[in-house]
Symmetry: C2
Subunit: 141 residues, 2 copies
């Protein structure tokens, strides 16, 4: 989660949405990523999506754990379920409720850390850029 | 749907997964795209995702209709719901059941065309490249 937070912080300093993600397989980091809506003008590059993309082509995700600083939106939750990612560690859901129930209902094991550092960064961003945050989730928060 | 099929056919001729999508707003084409798993080595670039990406940054999708040649997977369905796309026209769901029920449950109007041309191309691809098709949906079909 430290690495995922660092990705989020990097995005914040780039002027982007501060959500970061890391993919781990059998204790080894496969990929990391962060939200790139601003940086790449890409609305589908949420932190989790960017991380899954950077992990490249794979047949299966059975032994993968995805760490994300913020509770996953419906797009990212759908991707997790579609690709069969079995475990997700969530930094916090204070700033965005996300879809932990949907993930669990679809057989994904979710660990919610309620991490203060993740929550503080996200709250600061939402306070500073409510317009950008609203755009990133198209008002569906 | 003709344009979406042409995108799918283009992907097929590029050696990729033949799913295409087009975004229309108030009768005007905003963007089109196709699956780019093979072409860009990008697992999250399903046809619908590529199309949403190419439409660029937007605040809202209220007046958008998304055309897709194949019934949307859970990732693409999640993206449609998260971004608040209200209408989806689906070419066919013979080759992949997708998540039309999920979309409708979340307030998305879905029109299923059961288009023979879309279905024939997809069936041909799955017959020729079952390995690539399995990879694209990580076995969740």
């Amino acid at each position: 989660m430290r690495m995922a937070f660092d990705e989020a912080l990097r995005s914040y300093h780039e002027g982007g949405v501060p959500v970061g993600a890391v993919m781990v397989e059998n204790g080894k980091v496969i990929a990391s990523g962060h939200n790139r809506r601003v940086q790449d003008g890409d609305p589908v590059s949420h932190g989790e999506m960017d991380c899954i993309r950077r992990a490249g082509r794979r047949n299966r995700y059975d032994d993968v754990t995805l760490y994300t600083t913020l509770s996953p939106c419906m797009m990212c939750s759908g991707a997790i379920v579609q690709f069969g990612i079995k475990r997700v560690v969530v930094g916090e859901n204070r700033n965005f409720n996300g879809n932990i129930g949907f993930l669990e209902k679809n057989g994904v094991e979710v660990l919610l850390l309620d991490d203060t550092e993740c929550a503080t960064l996200m709250a600061r961003f939402i306070g500073e850029r409510p317009d950008l945050w609203d755009e990133d989730v198209a008002g569906n928060d």
